[in-house]
Amino acid sequence: MKLLMKEWKLCMHPTGYLMPLMAGLVLVPGYPYGVCCFYVGLSIFFICLTAREDHDAGYTLMLPVSRQDAVRARILFCAGLETADLLLMGVFILIKNVIGSLPNPAGLDAGVALIGEGMILFAIFNLVFFPVYYQEISKPGKAFAFAATAMFLWIVLEIVGTYTVPFFRDILDQPDPMYMSDKLLFTLGGLALFLAGTARSIQLSAKKFEAADLSL
């Protein structure tokens, strides 16, 4: 908890407050909504970049905490931003459904399934970004390049899937509340992947960070 507070008070980058609001892009017609999650990934990159410039690792590792604690706190803090983004996305989806929604030609419609899609995207981001970042914390750009590429590949697959894969095209990409049980199941699956992916990311990242020689 103390380390989470440290992340918030000392490491939070202004984009960490702003980027989750990009969930509001679900109000824009004809937009690849998975990109909303990319913006949060961008803010996480900025947090790690600022942490490097502020020599946060040197500060944190002299506190009475272990490297593993430091890794866990950073990833959980970022997972908190991702969760905020998904919750806001839920709010904007509700608003969009109230004011009336047209089908989205650029991927999934703004519906329940999109939240599951966002969770999968964040699971991918966390699994790629943090282990690469903690292998060499002086190079957050490298980690972000890998993670952003992985996210965009999944977004492309998702968009293509809404035209070619029957489950995506005929069920997930249909307006709510159609096929709600299937969509909820998909979203629950996304939640499971998000939780498992983040937990695995913590494990892998802590292992990489433990093994790293730091130049502080």
């Binding site: 008070k9 000392l10 020599h55 500060y59 590792l61 506190l63 009475p64 093994a211 020689d213 502080l216």
Partner: protein, 284 residues
Amino acid sequence: MASEINSPLEVRGLSKKYPAFTLRDVSFRLAPGCITGFIGRNGAGKTTTINAMLSFVHPDSGEITFFGRPWAEHEREIKEKIGFVSTGMTYHTRKKLKAITAVTRAFYPAWDGKAYEKYMTAFGLDGEKTPAELSNGMKIKYALALALSHGAELLILDEPTSGLDPVSREELVEVFLRLKEEGKTVFFSTHITSDLEKCADRILFLQQGCLKADEPLNAFREAWRIAECAGEMPPALVRAACGTCRTRDGFTVLVRKENAEAFNARKASLEEIMVHLEKEADRT
């Protein structure tokens, strides 16, 4: 045996190999309540040694204990008893000192708010300022205030006086002497040896990754003499020389005290000893 267990820091056989540099078999132990100067030129391995001591880098071999306890099993409790201050306090330079303090204090059960206020006042620090607004000397003082407020008994200082003007350096040396009076142990890495002449009890001299001396300051200085020589050096002096430097009028030559009588040699400063030995190492 009991005093060994109570040593604030003991390093045994520390080695670390990099492609272009190797730290070889460094061993020493600090006496409690003393100021130990850790000297050597830039690149000698001082920071590597400190990074290995604090587990920032993983040594290839060696054993490091703080207060008789190994880092791996006692990391948290060791960190509560030590303070580390590096060149300039560069952490979170755009945050107010009071914000950094508020975060930091939460991690230390033994945090002493009164001591913190005392040191902030004594050092002339304002919690509303950010590290970016402080001079390098004030940054060091703030880092010291944090370390002392959580009850650090051992202070590890990596080049704390580098880049400071002579007055600021003098002020910091006075702080270190005051800390020694309070019973703190200070491990002070620097290449500005004149600061150590004023405060150190013991000297560790690191040269090209090897510890060349681990002695009381006075004994280390006493062991050497400087002979001055205008023009060509006599053969006897060449044979006795342990390091030679050019000067405006000729040469200064470092010789061992026992060989110095014939050359009308004078006492050597710490800086002269280090510079001459480094020149000799470069030459060979």
